[in-house]
Amino acid sequence: MRKLLTGLLIMLCLFAVGCSRNKTDNKDSDVIKIGVFEPMTGANAAGGIMELEGIQLANELYPTVLGKKVELIIVDNKSDKVEAANAATRLVEKDKVNVVLGSWGSSLSMAAGPIVEEAGIPAIALSATNPLVTLGNDYYFRVCFIDPFQGTVMANYAYTNVGARTAAIVQEISNDYSVGLAQYFTESFKKLTGNENAILGVSNYTTGDQDFSAQLITLSQKNPDVIFAPGNYTESALLIKQARELGITIPILGGDTWETPEFLTVGGAAVEGSVLSTFYTTETAMTENSKIFLDAFRAKYGKEPASVAALGFDGYLLVLDAIEKTGSTDPKVIRDQIASTKNFPGAAGTITLDENGDAVKDAVIKVVKDGGFVYSATVSP
């Protein structure tokens, strides 16, 4: 008898769950859902949260489109490739979002690539710079430039501004972004110096490593003029700190991921003078949206925005613009409109997407000075 009752109860529960599920499946047509998958915990948390700040600010300024409310559905991908794929699956299958924004980190975005493509939901990466994020994927776009450009910019900087003729590379081997950037830097630097052996050494580390002394000593033995060390900000800050502690004084260059407050607090005095390329600067307004973004950001958060916050803002605006122009919420229609974006005035510069869905825009060089990121130069493609 008791078994029977328990069985009945379980069936009742399952039935209830099934019913409530059916209800949510009925698409609420007066809400437009934008799925956001970002690392909010784990190694990349700072980057993900800063990007989210920009998206939420944009959502606050422009909460409706076509008379419908825009709802952000935010999922934490925990800085993990597997979790990123899970998060993307959840957004397209369970939440049935119209568009996906994210993620900080090329590896994390690439993990979601096949999922959004299969579901036919357009996705916009905000600061993921590895070419493979959008390459061969009709549904992935981005509002930032790509690593071949960024790598060239840094190689040029090393050659012209630092006067370097030899370099060493420390790369985060488990991070597609870092490996890609190191590769493009190498190609450009060899071309600039005209020397096939201009890169004196390459060392690897993996995400989460905290001790780089062995790699740094080995490289410094070869006496390079400069070290190129693109990678996640947490590991990079420790890496530069250890390099300085070991008495390595040559300039250390990196990429856009470094631009986080944590890079400065963890690195302290050691990261002074480090050079990085990034997307945006508060010093010069690139478009009329730059000013709107900057004022609103300062008012809402009471601090200076990071580049990736501006890119988050731009990603959201681009989606809204596409929905407004087409008057449709159908993911396929939105996708086609995004793909044809020309001269869209984003906060972090004008966005024109090329045939791969990559933005072609200026890069900004910043130098760490007095505990802050200071604008140094703007470089056009």
Partner: protein, 297 residues
């Protein structure tokens, strides 16, 4: 490779190794007494570092007061965990306690993420310890000198306690035969609590030293060191305090020297630890200093 470069690598290896040793002692002591691999040990290590961060950076306590407060709080947390998660399972099968330990580990990691936040924090390093010293051509951070010395002092103190005091005798008795020790009038719960307290204090101390060496805190910072120190304990012979120290040193040196001499392998650093673990399990499962235990059937 010139001699001073080799010395530099050796110093770095010893410094990393003694840090592993410090945390491995905690693993080994708890295992020795309870036959329990305390999976939460790495997370207690993380808590120690965070407590110190809050005491020093947020409550503005002087550095050493902050460190002592953090060690005290971590010790209390360790005791609480033992009381809540392990003591009720004292007479359950060993696998239940192990599952409980894994649960505690996940619980602490997620609790820390909620309370402390996912973004990394910079550990406050006092100015005196922030500058490297040059000895000949070898540059050494002050922490790298403090850690091996502290590990040695702790090792000697523990050896004294375990082999020369009544509590130590009780500990050895409990580890040999739990039921018989109880029959002999030993307050088993008290002895186990003391062991957990000692282990937690060492984890907290290790966490603070780790923060000084790699000044960056995040909720999952205990996971990898936890696994590495467990490997160090197994390598030396789990349950053996001297073995834990030896295992830690071997692991630290192996990691640094292999990356130094074979730069191509520098990306596989964590794999080195696991290869060592597999090798030791195949060749001498009881560890370098371990003795073969005959299981009673």
């Amino acid at each position: 490779m010139s001699f001073h470069i080799f010395l530099q690598h050796l110093t770095n290896g010893l410094s990393l190794g003694s840090l592993y040793a410090l945390v491995a002692i905690g693993y080994t002591m708890v295992y020795g007494i309870l036959r329990l691999i305390n999976f939460a040990h790495g997370d207690i290590f993380m808590l120690g570092a965070y407590f110190a961060y809050y005491a020093i950076s947020v409550f503005f306590l002087p550095w050493w007061v902050g460190a002592v407060v953090a060690i005290g709080l971590t010790c209390a947390t360790g005791l609480l965990i033992e009381r809540v998660a392990y003591r009720p399972l004292r007479n359950s099968p060993r696998i239940s306690v192990m599952i409980s330990a894994i649960g505690v580990s996940f619980f602490l990691e997620n609790l820390a993420t909620v309370i402390f936040g996912g973004r990394p924090k910079a550990f406050p390093v006092p100015a005196v310890l922030g500058k490297s010293i040059m000895i000949g051509k070898v540059s050494i951070m002050p922490v790298s000198l403090i850690i091996p010395v502290a590990t040695l002092v702790i090792l000697l103190a523990l050896m004294y306690v375990v082999h020369r005091t009544r509590t130590g005798m009780a500990m050895r008795a409990v580890s040999r035969d739990y039921t018989a020790a109880k029959l002999m009038g030993i307050d088993v719960n008290r002895i186990i609590a003391i062991t957990f307290a000692t282990g937690s204090i060492l984890a907290a101390f290790g966490g603070i030293m780790w923060g000084l060496k790699y000044p960056q805190l995040q909720p999952l910072m205990g996971v990898m060191p936890g696994i590495k120190c467990f490997i160090a304990a197994v390598l030396g012979g789990i349950g053996n305090i001297m073995g834990a120290v030896l295992g830690g040193l071997v692991l630290g040196l192996a990691e640094i020297l292999i990356t130094a001499f074979l730069p191509a392998l520098s990306g596989y650093r964590d794999a080195i630890a696991f290869v060592i673990l597999i090798a030791i399990l195949l060749l001498k499962p009881s560890g370098i200093l371990g003795t073969k235990v005959t299981e009673k059937v």
